[in-house]
């Protein structure tokens, strides 16, 4: 997807020529989506997803993210997350799919979905209701208002950010453009989200984020590594216009120990050793199988 230079005229279900990978719902249903989307009850069904002209409809990127979650479903179930959070829920397709996949309060899981677009939060609520699942939906900028109390509580965070490279002044505009406008290299909003996700993620938290090749995913992974996260690309999908990556991030104790060492130059060798030794029980715990494989 290239940057949009003009204000696109938006009609419900219209095909927008400057954003080729957004296709009409009907075309998708007939042609391009795999069988699993037509028949699956393990994720949201397109026919039940609500829509609005100012809300981003599920597309290749949404499907890639849900595919990644489905592929990781067994790990997620074993992981037994308590709080799952979606940042930027749009139509509600992803959070609904996640809730279907992992179960609700009966299974011990609670969901939060946020979006900055007032139409999106209403559409998300409708989509959730149509599928008989529940998530708490909040209209806000990323997690503003929640961040103080939700620190360290996010066991699963999913985000399909506005990743399209656009002029900076298109970032943060009202309406549907907030779904894609990502500024320089499409990184404006991503770079705001990452430190927030870092605060929200629990010790064992997993972050799933969708990016384009244009966002420089390896640099994102390096940045996250400095914060103590390991990462892996779990789904990669190339369309004619773009190359999508779904990256999974998780805290890696070994990386964290390494990071701590870098900032302990002023400590005596015995202090450093003591710090390392205190990490060993956690390392053993990580090695024994709770680490993501």
């Amino acid at each position: 997807m290239l940057g949009v230079d003009m204000e696109p005229k938006i009609e419900a279900n219209a095909v927008m020529p400057s954003l080729p990978s957004i296709r009409a719902k009907e075309e998708d249903q007939q042609n391009n989506r795999p069988v699993s989307y037509r028949m699956s009850t393990r994720s949201a069904q397109i026919r039940l997803v609500s829509s609005h002209p100012e809300v981003y409809e599920p597309c290749d990127d949404s499907f890639a993210l849900v595919d990644a979650l489905l592929a990781d479903r067994n790990n997620l179930l074993e992981h037994r997350p308590t709080f799952c959070i979606e940042l930027g829920c749009g139509s509600g397709y992803v959070i609904t799919s996640l809730a279907i996949m992992l179960g609700q309060e009966g299974a011990g899981v609670s969901y939060f979905a946020t979006d900055i677009n007032p139409h999106a939060v209403r559409v998300t609520r409708e989509t959730l209701e149509a599928h008989g699942v529940h998530a708490e939906v909040i209209l806000t900028d990323i997690v503003s208002g929640l961040e103080r109390r939700l620190v360290g509580m996010g066991d699963v965070i999913v985000v399909n950010p506005p990743y399209v490279p656009t002029p900076e002044d298109e970032v943060g505009r009202d309406g549907i453009a907030s779904a894609w406008a990502g500024g320089e290299n499409g990184r404006s909003v991503i770079d705001r989200i990452l430190p927030i996700a870092d605060k929200l993620l629990s010790e064992r938290g997993w972050l799933y984020m969708l990016t384009l090749a244009a966002n420089n995913p390896s640099q994102i992974c390096r940045m996250m590594r400095e914060k103590g996260y390991a990462s892996r690309i779990i789904v990669q999908r190339s369309t004619e216009e773009e190359s999508l990556h779904v990256i999974k991030f998780w805290r890696d104790t070994e990386i964290q120990v390494g990071t701590k060492e870098q900032i302990t130059e002023n400590r005596t060798p015995s202090e450093v050793m003591e710090s390392l030794l205190s990490q060993i029980p956690r390392l053993a715990f990580w090695r024994s199988g709770s680490r993501d494989s």
């Binding site: 609700q104 309060e105 609670s110 609520r125 708490e136 909040i138 208002g145 929640l146 103080r148 939700l150």
Partner: protein, 123 residues
Amino acid sequence: MRLLTHNMLSSNIKGVMNGFPLRLEVEKSVSKEVEFNSDFLRNMFPKIEWKALVDAARSMGYAELPEEAPESSMLESEEFLMKFHHALLELHLEEGALICPETGRRFPVNKGIPNMLLHEDEV
């Protein structure tokens, strides 16, 4: 909006020091049945600000929760857990507002969705 969510929300206005908890203004509330899971509730309990939950529940018309934060032994009591479950997960504020305790600013709640978007001068 559940009271679990209310317990996780604070006023995000710039400069506000005591933005938690938000006071509830209830225009329409509803009770929705939610499947009971005692492990989930025991997991949740340490994360909850108890007084905020009690006060919020009361403003929704539910006064069954003990005022004092229960001891952990209470977490074995099914009777207690069911009250906790009801207050935390089943009471919904559909229409109303959340009020910043410091500034009085109203954050509207419509169709169960709180609007925490700030105006330019509040950021």
